[in-house]
């Protein structure tokens, strides 16, 4: 235990005295204060808040993640490159404690930067701002819809033979994505309805219908209409925001959940196109779902993600020289960030060339390996006033914050002494 704390202290001193911590703090805070001037929202107060939270925290998180990944990859490796590590290795301290101490110190640095920036975000926002639990429509899974569509294709005489010969898994995967993205059109004067699991909604919760126009096609739809959920209704007119939240007020709360279908009636002049699986949600909130709590939860998730990255990079530094370790961790971060976009872009596996398919397979592999980091979801949720749910926090803490660091510290301890062999004489 003393060895562990000695290593933590050593790593903290290394970070502090190289001025790295000071630089990181200054850069992060400068970014926090610069964002409102650099990116503008849609003119509304809500829009400004969204943009501020998203870009300020996202920027700081990327900065912290990249700098600490580099620091982690350099921590053990630079000691070995300078032949200092042997002096630690001949001591009775457990190598596991040495690796873990490095990780913990770096995570503490990153966590404190993130915490201070979160505090700035809190001060610049309304702490009691409402956040929402999000429900998506209860629908047939995209998978089974895809299977059905596949069967229909195969039975149809119009389907070209070439397509019939294509690998079933590939086709189903494409159809599944199509199902997930399937549009539904609500013509002027017509209605559409979607079913929701309303049992999750608390009796005193505020409820709203929410449409998110995140698609390439209709980034900002101009629409007018009425939502109804049981006896609750809400109307919306001429809205052009990307995320529209329509409060559903109850005429009589007693009959509110008699029915679980959300009905939208289009009373505008244009058809409304939306993808129910992505764009239509019911959000509900009790009085304790505040921005402050959500920010705290998001912070915990961010720190957990950071821990996983730092642990991985310290592990790389235990086995590689400084430069290859830093390079490898940067490539990994890049793959993690890029793979979801690559997978999104390569939707059509059938018509793509061999090279593209290899690229897709690699991206899929990288995406699976780095899934916890593939999206900066806590910040997105926070910006969209969506609750970071307790189960997400629990998963992040148990896997990213506890399991992965222990696992990588164990691996690092295992390979740390091996590398002595190739160190130059001395």
């Amino acid at each position: 235990m003393r060895a562990f704390f000695s290593v933590v202290a050593l790593q903290l001193k290394a970070a502090a005295r190289s001025k790295a911590i000071a630089l990181l703090f200054v850069a992060s805070l400068a970014w926090m204060f610069a964002v409102p001037g650099l990116v503008s929202g849609d003119g509304t107060a809500d829009g400004a808040h969204q943009v501020f939270v998203r870009y300020s925290l996202w920027g700081v998180f990327v900065l912290v993640l990249v700098s600490l990944a580099a620091a982690g990859a350099g921590s053990l490796s630079s000691d070995r490159d300078a032949r200092r590590l042997q002096l630690t290795l001949v001591r009775p301290a457990r190598r596991f404690a040495v690796a873990l101490g490095r990780m913990v110190a770096l995570v503490a640095v990153g966590a404190s930067v993130l915490a201070v920036c979160a505090l700035v975000a809190l001060c610049r926002s309304d702490a009691s701002r409402r956040c929402w639990h999000v429900l998506s429509p209860v629908m047939e899974s995209p998978r089974s819809e895809a299977e059905r569509a596949y069967r229909r294709y195969m039975e149809s005489p119009e389907t070209p033979d070439e397509l019939k010969k294509t690998d079933k898994r590939v086709l189903v995967r494409i159809l599944e994505r199509k199902a997930f993205d399937r549009y539904e059109t609500v013509r002027p004067g017509a209605s559409a309805s979607w079913r929701f699991d309303t049992a999750r909604i608390g009796a005193d919760d505020d409820i709203a219908a929410r449409l998110r126009f995140s698609s390439e096609m209709g980034t900002r739809e101009d629409f007018t209409g009425t939502f109804a959920l049981g006896a609750r209704t809400g109307s919306v007119s001429n809205i052009t925001q990307t995320v529209v939240t329509v409060p559903l007020a109850a005429a009589d709360a007693a009959v509110a959940y008699a029915e679980d279908g959300l009905v939208f009636t289009n009373s505008g002049r244009d058809s409304l196109m939306l993808r129910p699986r992505r764009d239509v949600q019911i959000v509900h909130s009790s009085s304790d779902c505040t921005f402050a709590r959500n920010l705290a939860f998001a912070l915990v998730v961010m720190v957990s993600m950071l821990s996983a990255v730092v642990a991985f990079s310290v592990f790389l530094g235990a086995g590689l020289g400084r430069s290859p370790a830093v390079f490898t961790v940067m490539v990994t971060l890049f793959l993690a960030a890029a793979s979801p976009a690559v997978m999104e872009d390569y939707q059509d596996e059938v018509n793509s060339g061999k090279g593209d398919r290899v690229g897709l397979a690699l991206a899929q592999f990288a995406g699976v390996m780095t899934r916890p980091l593939g999206s900066f979801s806590p910040i997105g949720s926070l910006a969209d006033d969506e609750c970071v749910e307790l189960r997400d926090v629990a998963r992040a803490v148990s896997v990213d914050f506890v399991l992965l660091p222990l696992f990588f510290a164990f691996l690092a301890a295992f390979i740390m002494p091996v590398k002595q062999e190739s160190a130059i004489a001395g």
């Binding site: 003393r2 290394a14 300078a82 001949v90 004489a425």
Partner: protein, 255 residues
């Protein structure tokens, strides 16, 4: 005859071949070495540059794995935690963390040896006094001269009160006065029951401090025995053993 548990370090037929990235052998640094160091003695590992002294030391410390043969430290495999707990090591160069002060350096290694707070503070004070660095204890060692850095490294090798002290060229970089101090220190520690294994190519130093020496050349032991049994000065013995035919050829360069 000393019994088995009095043998602190034992090497039997030890070889070390360094390999390159493709595992092709590059250097045979140690070649069939037998050696034993007994409790309480000061053992000198002597030899010219590149003869394999540091490599041997690293195998004893468990930093390098021998390619063949057996190394035992306190009867344990080198590198095992309980063997490491009884060990102090001063490397060839000091290899300090430049941003730590002398005191922090000692505190760091004290932590790695699991010393409690009071013991740590007490020992740091004693050791800084001993190596004469009390006045500069709170300056970063990155700014220290070579000799000062050497003293810090020496002090940190002693922080855990080791049973076996391994010194790789302890006097390199020290002025004559400090060299003398180190020699006295080694003798004092040995008198107090500590076993010391040191390498050197300074024969005068070795002659004064060591009870027994082994002379390495090209990774092989060419002589081993008590300094007092040599019958001649260590200097001439050494030159006779390894010095033949070795002379810098200056003439072609001057032409």
């Amino acid at each position: 005859m000393a019994d088995a548990c009095d043998t602190i370090v034992e090497l039997k037929g030890v070889e070390k071949t360094f390999r390159d990235f493709w595992l092709r052998p590059t250097v045979k640094a140690v070649d069939g070495l037998d050696l034993s160091v007994r409790r309480g003695e000061v053992f000198g590992l002597l030899g010219p540059n590149g003869s394999g002294k540091s490599t041997t030391v690293k195998m004893i410390l468990g930093l390098l794995a021998p390619s063949a043969g057996k190394v035992a430290l306190f009867g344990l495999p080198p590198g095992s935690p309980s063997a490491r707990a009884r060990l102090g090591y001063l490397p060839e160069l000091s290899y300090l963390h430049p941003f730590l002060t002398a005191r922090e350096t000692l505190r760091y290694y004290a932590g790695l040896c699991d010393l409690d707070r009071a013991t740590t503070r007490e020992r740091i004070r004693e050791l800084l006094d001993m190596v004469g660095l009390s006045d500069v204890a709170d300056r970063p060692v990155g700014g220290f001269s070579k000799g000062m850095a050497r003293r810090v490294a020496l002090a940190s090798s002693l922080i855990g009160k080791p049973e076996l002290l391994v010194l790789d060229e302890p006097t390199s970089g020290l002025d004559p006065v400090s060299t003398n101090e180190v020699k006295t220190l080694v003798k004092t520690l040995a008198a107090g029951g500590m076993t010391v294994l040191m390498t050197s190519h300074l024969l005068g130093d070795a002659e004064e401090t060591c009870d027994r020496v082994a002379i390495l050349n090209h990774g092989k032991s060419v002589a081993e025995g008590r300094v007092s049994d040599l019958g001649t000065s260590l200097q001439s013995f050494f030159l006779a053993k390894v010095g033949e035919g070795r002379r810098f050829e200056v003439a072609p360069f001057l032409k």
